[in-house]
Symmetry: C2
Subunit: 342 residues, 2 copies
Amino acid sequence: MQQDKMIRHSLSLATLFGALFLQSYAYAGPIAMAIHGGAGTISKANLSPEQEQAYREKLEEAISAGYAHLKQGGSSVDAVIKAIQILEDSPLFNAGRGAVYTWDETHELDASIMDGRTLNAGAVAGVKTIKSPIEAARTVMDKSVHVMLSGEGAETFAKEQGLETVDNHYFDTDFRLEALKKAKAKLERDKTAWERPENLDYKFGTVGAVALDRQGNLAAGTSTGGMTAKRYGRIGDSPIIGAGTYANNASCAVSATGHGEYFIRYHVAADICARVAYQGLSLQDAANKVVKEVLVDADGSGGVIAVDNKGNIATPFNTQGMYRATVDTDGNITVAIYQPKE
Amino acid sequence: MQQDKMIRHSLSLATLFGALFLQSYAYAGPIAMAIHGGAGTISKANLSPEQEQAYREKLEEAISAGYAHLKQGGSSVDAVIKAIQILEDSPLFNAGRGAVYTWDETHELDASIMDGRTLNAGAVAGVKTIKSPIEAARTVMDKSVHVMLSGEGAETFAKEQGLETVDNHYFDTDFRLEALKKAKAKLERDKTAWERPENLDYKFGTVGAVALDRQGNLAAGTSTGGMTAKRYGRIGDSPIIGAGTYANNASCAVSATGHGEYFIRYHVAADICARVAYQGLSLQDAANKVVKEVLVDADGSGGVIAVDNKGNIATPFNTQGMYRATVDTDGNITVAIYQPKE
């Protein structure tokens, strides 16, 4: 009996140590994260020192919030949401407050999120009154049997789920209204104005985040106001799983920003992960191949942020600049705007 | 002088023969095509002989129309459109007339098309009054700077482009209204009813086509009424480039049908082509891997039709049946509904 008890005792201790080991193991993986606030013709000449400082501070605030969550053992999905919500709430970026205007002087917002562990995903397209589109995308992922909801239907769903709604004017900013007026004037003179390089910035400003958490789970999310002066219920790549957003623990997590039509046609986010999974390319090589070769050959401007399941990060873009921040597996935070020096 | 004239004459003859050679070369490639009219719990027990005959005749009519166009040297994009429009116009299929009903007893149609030569693409989502959604998708591809338009905006665009519009009741059929009433009764008793296998057919019935033309160009298109009793502006995989539709001359063309949410999350159409392009798999192996392994493991029901740039055809599905027809490079037309005999 005594021996039996000792064996049981030893087994309990073994179980306890096992559990402790598993827990420490579960928290032992590397963490890493990257965010973007849009790519485009961003140069020192276009940004005042004060503007540049404001962008840098907001990017640092957003990545720090996400990273703090990862450090505490939080999930990559939550870290992505936290970072993106800070960018949505800032008028500096084309997502949430500060979103660009449609042709009709309203705002129509798109967002998506994907969980690399379950390959579950959620997206909303063309929503006008949901304060945080990325939160709505997450609620579609977690609380509906669907992946993608659009327009008034998506808003009805969000309201039923108790998400915060706002008047469409909540998203207003004077400088975006100014940009709309200029864009419309150009487009009324010349319908092809959108295709000319100097007007490319009307398509940019999307925000996004990718993260690897201690449990080895990847996540990616993207939120945007879309294209200045957009019409006809245009949907870009941001709410399209595989185009603007993709995450799979087996390969990588990607969020894109740029000329959305090209990112849909080249299903950029999923293609980068497919090249990692099927061609055995490194994350950097796969991301460079798609952004700096495939998209460049097709005249598709923009960039991506990506992280793989080892915590490697890639942030290639084929424009002058891309607002971005990264935190690597050693905890080094980097904020950058322009092309890296060769 | 005389000699000069002879040289010029010889050169002209050479040019003429060259042009004839080029023309015969341009028409020398193999042609092939496949179409589907949805996958689901289709069995001999569920279909009367008369119903089965009606499906078989309409499938044969559609593939014959597409094939006739390819034989005349027509483009794969046109062949895809011709076949799909015949299926859209038939009340037998869940696309165009005969589309399923939304929760609110309306019809919201989705469609997309992709040109494998240019990787250009067009899609419409949630349109209610456009008679031929696949034609609208093609018009977005050819006549707009966008890839994807949605809702009323897409309808405004279609009207501006002179496409035929109809009252939403044009799409009505009694048997789909009956199906809606049954679905709503089930869903009101049990919100998870959609997840149960016996109700899977509420998600199916999409139509699609893929084709290879004599010039070696691939195209894919898909058109659907979506999911019976859908709400909240739900968008499925059919209008999502990379999910329900994908075409690339370098690999293959795919149109999908099934439980759309899974086809988005696994970006099924583009993944099959990525496995062909990056893993060097045959079309059959790549399509089987995704439909019969990846999707089965994820509980994602449905099937695809696919053709590669040599004219190989694959039509795997993981449901009891899939309405389908193929025409191979020897011109053999096959119409089938049930699982092929082992």
